[in-house]
């Protein structure tokens, strides 16, 4: 943290500065370079997910707290080394019927309005809106947390999808920050002088590393060699190519064709009853509105 980030003489309430549209929702980021957020060492975003929308699996470089402002759904967190404790039952499968591989995955959790969800840094998570209303979350990333050993720029690593626009915005924030800190540190011109004296220095450091290659693919799997991945997953290369294909510009929130049917325990009867009552009340209000 630079020394000037907390020299605050005046505070203002701030709105998100960038809005990224995905197939089934939007992601809005507050500018992480704003003085008050920089001082606190945090980045904040708001996600708005349509019913049946899935926030694709991803992880961030900082721990997160997610507050559910509106809606409900299910959420999965992949904790490294933990067992897949949610398993499909094998009951009812006679020896005559063909043996189907049962699905199993790590614990998933239901969430609803008012919940706070804690997500450690580097841990994959996904969210699915299985309700009838929009899901709205506010996420706080503590980029200054000791768990983040990278710089203070927020980063989201996607396992799937094509979150090109979001990544472009985050890159722009990082560039703005770099330019800002550069102008503040003009006295550090000796670095540039040294570069002029020895222009090959940066190239000499890593003879094998290549310049960052920009690609049309924006998730982690796309960038790996397909032959390597085919061996790592023990599947055909054609299947890996299908995984790596980016179909359309759907962003990081996609619409699920049918409802997502994952292995999960039944919900509490009371919760379901409350929800049915709430739905009935909503319909009545709509009917009343029309009559008037």
């Amino acid at each position: 943290q630079s020394q000037n980030e907390c020299q605050i003489n005046r505070l203002n309430s701030i709105e998100p500065t960038s809005r990224i549209r995905s197939e089934a929702g939007t992601t809005e980021w507050w500018n992480p370079n704003s003085q008050q957020l920089s001082c606190a060492g945090v980045s904040v975003l708001r996600q708005n997910v349509e019913p049946n929308g899935l926030i694709l699996p991803s992880f961030t470089n900082a721990p997160q707290l997610v507050y559910i402002v509106q809606g409900r759904g299910i959420q999965g967190t992949v904790i490294p080394g933990c067992a897949e404790t949610f398993q499909e039952s094998q009951q009812g499968q006679g020896q005559k019927s063909p043996r189907r591989l049962q699905d199993q995955h790590q614990k998933i959790r239901r969430f609803r309005r008012g919940d706070v969800i804690a997500l450690p840094a580097g841990v994959v998570h996904w969210f699915y809106n299985d309700g009838n209303e929009r899901l709205v979350t506010v996420n706080l990333l503590h980029t200054a947390n000791s768990a983040n050993q990278l710089d203070d720029n927020p980063r989201r690593f996607h396992l799937a999808g094509n979150p090109e626009e979001e990544q472009r915005r985050l890159r722009r924030f990082a560039q703005q920050k770099m330019q800002g800190s550069r102008s503040e540190r003009e006295e550090m011109e000796e670095d540039e002088d040294e570069e002029q004296d020895n222009p090959s220095r940066s190239r000499r450091e890593s003879p094998h590393s290549r310049e960052q290659q920009s690609s049309s693919c924006n998730n982690l799997l796309c960038a790996f060699d397909s032959e390597f991945l085919a061996q790592a997953f023990n599947v055909d290369t054609s299947l890996i190519r299908r995984l790596q294909e980016v179909r359309g510009n759907k962003g990081s929130i996609i619409r699920v064709k049918d409802r997502l049917d994952v292995v999960s325990p039944p919900r509490m009867e009371e919760e379901e009853r409350e929800e049915r009552q709430e739905e009935e009340r909503r319909r009545e209000r709509q009917r009343g509105g029309r009559d008037n």
Binding site: L56, G76, V78, G122, N148, L150, L220, F224
Partner: protein, 185 residues
């Protein structure tokens, strides 16, 4: 009391001994880890290490380290290493040869495959309990996701999602494919 505790603290451990391996696959290789659990002084230092061996053309599955940077030094042989950043850009894709060093920043995904003569390396981590998340295999992130989430995320059938989740039963490693071995023969 200091003499009995801090001053006498165990400060060394040999991780090259094959018998000491924590992860082992006779076809692929082995990994020995040294961290704050098996060498407590590393808790205070906030560092850990790993010694790895890959046999002929075997590889480690794609993975990322959730809480540390990784600095790899190639001891013997060579390996092709790919490193991917948060934008899905390949920031490194080349062979790392004996005597060379490569830094993999925290959360950047990487995978490596040994050349025909195998590869041996030592990696240092900037956390005493460095934790890797593999993307493929028996304890991987993909396997921990529900089949339907995998199918929806990659827009593939449930059957294909099942293959992606369950086809590699190994932990951490993969071996060269049969076709490649035939080509070499």
């Amino acid at each position: 009391g200091l003499e009995e505790t801090f001053c006498a603290m165990r400060m060394k451990e040999n991780i090259a001994d094959p018998e000491r391996a924590d992860i082992f696959n006779p076809q692929a290789g082995r990994i020995s880890t040294l961290n704050g659990y098996n060498l407590p002084i590393l808790q205070a230092l906030g560092l850990s290490a790993e010694r790895g061996v890959l046999y002929n053309r075997a590889g480690t599955v794609p993975q990322w380290c959730i809480n540390a940077h990784k600095i790899l030094y190639m001891l013997r042989g060579r390996a092709r290493i790919q490193v991917v950043n948060q934008n899905g850009d390949t920031v490194f894709d080349d062979n790392v040869e004996q005597g060379q060093l490569l830094t993999v920043p925290q959360n950047f995904a990487f995978m490596k495959r040994a050349g025909s003569e195998g590869a041996e390396w030592v990696s240092f981590f900037t956390n005493s309990q460095a934790t890797n998340t593999p993307m493929a295999g028996r304890v991987s992130a993909i396997r921990a996701l529900p089949e339907e989430v995998v199918a929806a995320s990659y827009q593939i059938s449930k059957e294909d999602a099942r293959k992606v989740k369950f086809n590699n039963q190994d932990t951490y490693f993969f071996t060269s494919s049969r076709s490649e071995r035939r080509d070499e023969a």
